[in-house]
Point group: C2
Chain length 237, copies 2
Amino acid sequence: MATERVDKKERRQELLRAARDVFARKGYHDAKVEDVCAAAGVAKGTYYLYFKDKRAVLEELVDGLFVRLAAAILRVDPGLDVPAQVQHNIRAIVAVFLDDPALTRILLSYAAGLDPAFVKKVADFYEVVRRQLGDALRDGQGLGIVAPGDADFYATLTLGALKEVLLEASSDAKPRHREEIVGKLFAFLESGYLRFALEAAPVSTPPLATAKRGSSTPQPPAVAATPRPPAVAPRKR
Amino acid sequence: MATERVDKKERRQELLRAARDVFARKGYHDAKVEDVCAAAGVAKGTYYLYFKDKRAVLEELVDGLFVRLAAAILRVDPGLDVPAQVQHNIRAIVAVFLDDPALTRILLSYAAGLDPAFVKKVADFYEVVRRQLGDALRDGQGLGIVAPGDADFYATLTLGALKEVLLEASSDAKPRHREEIVGKLFAFLESGYLRFALEAAPVSTPPLATAKRGSSTPQPPAVAATPRPPAVAPRKR
DNA sequence: ACAGCGACTGACTGATGGGTCAGTCAGTGC
DNA sequence: GCACTGACTGACCCATCAGTCAGTCGCTGT
C-alpha cells in the first residue's frame, strides 16, 4: 500500500481521530486495532510506532477530554453574579462534550467493558466531579442559593441528568442545540417540573409490598417503611 | 469434582445467580464462562446444558429485570390521586432495581461493550421508557400537574438522574435507604434545588437572559419561568 | 444386580485478535 | 549513484476463551 509519508505529529493525530471515530461507532471492545488502522489508512505495525498498545489511544483520548473539562469549569466566586457563573459552567461543560460528540459517546456509553484499571479511572473522575459539585452546592446552601437538603444527592442527580442529556445530544439523530440544553437544564435545576402543590409529607406505609420477589437470591426484607426524612423544604412561593 | 445432583430448576437458578454476581463484579466482557461455572460450583460443560451461549444468561437476567419493571409501573389514572401514583411508580422502580443491586450494576454500568445487538436491545428499552415517560409528562401538562416546557427533555433528565442514583445506591458502599431515595427524588422533581430568588419572572424575560452569551448560536427564548398553575391535584391525606 | 438414563465433566479445538519484527522503500546527504 | 535513515508494512506468533463431545458416574426401576 502506498501510504503517503506525512509529518509524525500529523500521523499521530490521524490515528487518534480514527480511533475516536471507530470506538464511537463500534465500541472499544468490538473495535479492532486493524479497524483503527484501516480508518487511518495505515498498516497495523504503524499503529504500534505511535502507541504502546490498544488501550493507550483510548487513554489519551479520554485524558484529553478530562483536561479540557477541568480547564473549562471555573470556580464560583460568591461575590459575583452566582447564577451567571453557574450557567457559565453548565455551558462550558456542555460545550466541551458537544464539541466532540464521538468522544462523548465513547465516554458516556462505551466506557465500560474494559479492564478494571480503566473503568476505575473513569469512575474516579466522575467521583471527583460529584464531590466537587457537592461541595459547591453546600457552599450554595450557605449562601441561601441552594435549597437545604442532601447536597450529595443533588450532585448525583445533576450528574446523571447531565450525562443522559449529553449522551442523547451526542447521538447523530438529535440535533438539540447546545444553548437550548443549557437553558432548559438550568430551568430544571431551578424549579423541577412537577407542580403538585402538595405540602406536608404523606403516606407512612407505601403501597409497595406488592412488588413480587422474582429474584433468585435471598434478599433482605423489602422496603422497611422508613420514616420520611425531613422533606427537602420545598419553599414554593 | 463431586458436584451434588440437584434439581434442574435449581441448577439453572444457581447458574443465573452466579452469572449475575460474576458479571457485576468483573463486567460481562472480563467475566469468563469458567468464572461463572466456578462460582456455581459446576464444570463448563454443564453451563452449556442450560444456556445456549455466553450471552444467553445475560439476556435472561436483563429480560427478567425488564419484565419486573414493566409489571411494577402502573399507568397513572388522572382521576385518582396523581401525586400518590407518581410516587408509587418511583417507589416501585426503585424497589425493582434495589432488590437486585448486582443486576442493577450490570445494566447501568457494564451494559456496553457487548455486541451491537444486545446494546441495541438495552438502548431500545430505555428509549421506550423515555418515550412513555415523555407521554405521561405531556398528559400531566394537560392536567396542569407538570410544568409547561419540553416534556421529552424532562423525561431524559429524569431518566438520567434516576439511573445515576440507582447506580450509586447499588454499589455496596452506599447504603442509601430506598425510601430516602424516593422522597428526595420526588422533592427534586417537584422543585429543583437552585434558589436564585428571581421569583416573579415576567413571563417574557426568562431568567437566563442575564447570563453572558459566551456560546455559539442564538437561541429561541428558553423555558419561560411559568407561573405555577392552579393546583389541580387536591390534598393528600 | 444390572441396564438405562441423563446430569455432569473437562480435555480439546478452532477462531480471534493483540502484539512483533524482519524486511521494504522513499527520501536525503554526500 | 551510493550509503544511510527511519517510517512503514503485513505475515506471523501465540495467548485466550467460547463452545464441543466422548466419556464417567450415580440414581432409579425392575
